[in-house]
């Protein structure tokens, strides 16, 4: 009897321990989730409050509201010229993502499906480019951009500096490395027989790339497109250094326009930040399965 009772007790004890660790886990996860969600939640809360309410309240921005209002949103939509800045973002982000995917898929195709001397070196160079912090090249880059002539309509001032083309170019340059790395790993998982079969059927290199490999890479391309969109969309750095015309900046850098020298209306800044975050949130919610896949793509070779 006792031999039976002991295991039973042990099961009970295990279950209790299990429940305890479960509770602990959930507590930990809830706290973590809250910490991560806090900036967003607080941003929403702050954006709904009138500035005078925050100022007059002794607890400042952490006080309880006397009223909540959408006035800040109405104000920034009417006064911040944000449509222009969203348009600027689109003008930068969309071509940059397309260019990046196009170029990197071609490089990846060449180094994963063809065997030639410099395969590894090329891949290494592209991957190593990822490790270079953009900050170290910014000053030479500004000087270089200023010295490189560019024709209209790509450039309004005859130079690469202070132009959309320049910012698109540097994004493409920096993102191509990562995309090449991921795509070449992905392409390596595609059976070589497909390429060989196409070759026997008389397909040229470009036909194999566009008709055989690219369609098979769709999941990888979709995942990368989502990732790249969020990264380039969120860029603040290049936009800050490569534009000196305030009206050309994308929405991220233009948020600074609302932060004056003498007066910063925090609720308004919060409101426009929330609006600026919407596109990335929407993209993420709609395409989140690609997003998660994108993060692990190329992590394991098949």
């Amino acid at each position: 009897m006792s031999a039976v009772a002991i295991p039973g007790q042990r099961v009970k004890a295990n279950r209790r321990r299990l429940r305890l660790s479960r509770v602990g886990l959930h507590l930990f996860l809830s706290v973590l989730a809250f910490v991560f969600a806090w900036p967003m939640l607080y941003g929403v809360y702050l954006s709904l409050r009138p500035f005078s309410d925050i100022i007059t309240n002794p607890a400042g921005p952490f006080s309880l509201p006397s009223t909540l209002t959408l006035d800040n949103y109405a104000y920034v939509i009417a006064n911040s010229d944000m449509l222009r800045f969203f348009w600027n973002t689109a003008v930068i982000t969309i071509p940059a993502v397309l260019l990046t995917l196009w170029i990197s898929s071609m490089v990846a195709f060449a180094i994963s499906k063809y065997s030639w001397k410099f395969n590894l070196i090329v891949l290494l160079i592209f991957t190593a480019g990822n490790l270079l912090p953009p900050q170290v090249i910014v000053i030479p880059l500004v000087k270089l951009y200023n010295a490189i002539p560019l024709f209209a309509p790509l450039s309004a001032n005859g130079r690469l500096f202070d132009q959309f083309a320049g910012v698109i170019l540097i994004h493409t340059t920096f993102q191509t490395g990562f995309c090449t790395f991921v795509l070449s790993n992905y392409m390596k998982t595609l059976p070589n027989e497909l390429v060989e079969a196409a070759m026997i059927d008389g397909a040229g290199v470009f036909t194999i790339y566009s008709k055989v490999i690219l369609p098979l890479c769709k999941p990888a391309l979709a995942a990368l497109a989502v990732l790249e969109f969020t990264w380039i969309y969120n860029d603040f750095f290049w936009a800050l250094f490569l534009f000196v015309t305030g009206d050309k900046r994308p929405i991220t850098a233009a948020l600074n326009n609302l932060q004056g020298q003498y007066v910063t209306n925090m609720p308004q800044l919060a409101a426009i930040s929330m609006l600026a975050a919407i596109p990335t949130i929407v993209i993420y919610l709609v395409l989140q399965r690609y997003f998660v896949r994108g993060l692990t793509l190329g992590a394991a070779k098949g």
Binding site: F51, T56, L240, N257, G260, Q261, Y262
Partner: protein, 476 residues
Amino acid sequence: MADIETGLKGQVSRREVLKKGLVGAAGLTVLPTVLAACSSAASTPSATPTAAPTPTPGAATPTPAAGTPTPVALTGALHVGSNHSDPSEKKGMDAIDAAFQAATGLAVTLNTVDHNTFQDQINNYLNTTPDDVFTWFSGFRMRFFASKSLGTAIDDVWAGVKSNYTAGFTTAVTGDDGKVYGIPVDYYPWCVFYRKSVFSDKGYTVPSTWTDFIALCNKMKTDGLTPIAFADKDGWPAMGTFDILNLRINGYDFHVGLMTGKQKWTDPKVTAVFTQWKQLIPFYTAGFAGLTWQQACDTLVQKKSGMFLLGLFLTGEFDTADPSGAAKKDLDFFPFPFLGNQYDAEKSLDAPIDIWMMSAKSQNLQADLANAKAYLKFWAAGSTQVLMYKANNGFIPTASDADTTQYDVLTQKAVQIVSAAQKITQFLDRDTRPDFAGANGMQSFLLNFLSNPGQDLTKFQQSIQDFWDKLPAYTG
């Protein structure tokens, strides 16, 4: 070294700049030459000297607001770079550009970049594709870029508008090479702000001596107030306190010498400044190193703090925080307390001057040159500067013909305090070389001191001096 001395000379003689400027601005003198200046301002630059169809208004009536330039049609384009990014300042810029268009028929292309980014980017901006004219600051900051050939000398423009300024202003806009590089358009003084209602409710009196000041701080503390609002997240607000303490303790000449490298940071006189400063730190807002000045100012709006040493631009935050204007009406200020030494008579203070400059590397400058000069001349008129003043009362006009009847009580008081001052400085980061004042230099040194006031001052001052000594030679 010679260059630095030239700079120093410029600063020494600047002592009279605002004093004289303000006497003029107070409407005591209406210069008849103003009219001549303005009409020449409008006629010289035009490539097409056809007068606009509108009749010249009041060309013969010498009213104080006679700065209205003679309408002359301008053609072509003009690119204007502005750091006026606050909503009120934007409105002021729009009003001025509209007035310029009304007067000349030329619509300017305005490029507004937020103030802090504009300042951070200035090197980039001036070296790459700057606008034709741009907003900047007088003092070392102007001379620095002028000496790097990033500004265009505008002696001809200045010659036309000089009569609308008191003589001292010339030094404020003269570069190391003796040429004029800027048009002064506004200034603001640094004073100690407080709420009249708080002082009257608690029976406080405005302190004029250091002893009174400290006693008042202690009293405020026991009354549950933060005696002195303070914030230094952006690095520069603390410089205001250093400036005024150094001016009060060691006088104007030593301060200017220190700024230009003639005096050493290891000097015991500097130790005295930091030692004096230590007495104030316990009265500061908690966590000031992470606060912006706006946040500190809000505590004054909320009557949670008693006093705040800042520039007059602080009124802008009051306008935003309390649109009803009640809080601003309750606002008052006094000059920083005196220490009872021989420098009291100087009544010195920081009162930085803002200017407009003409860039050198703008691609359009050759084509726009005439328009750019016309625009700068337009800004030299009191009527133009008053438009900005009306939009934001933090910008006090510099032109002699500015209509002083438009001024509010605070501005009139500011004009008085600055007129009384025998010596005027521009603010630490405008009076010394930018690489010394910047984030790696004084900004971080002062933050370091404030967060650790008990440290070994000898070592601390030595580190500042070492930093100065390691800076590359300033080749003016």
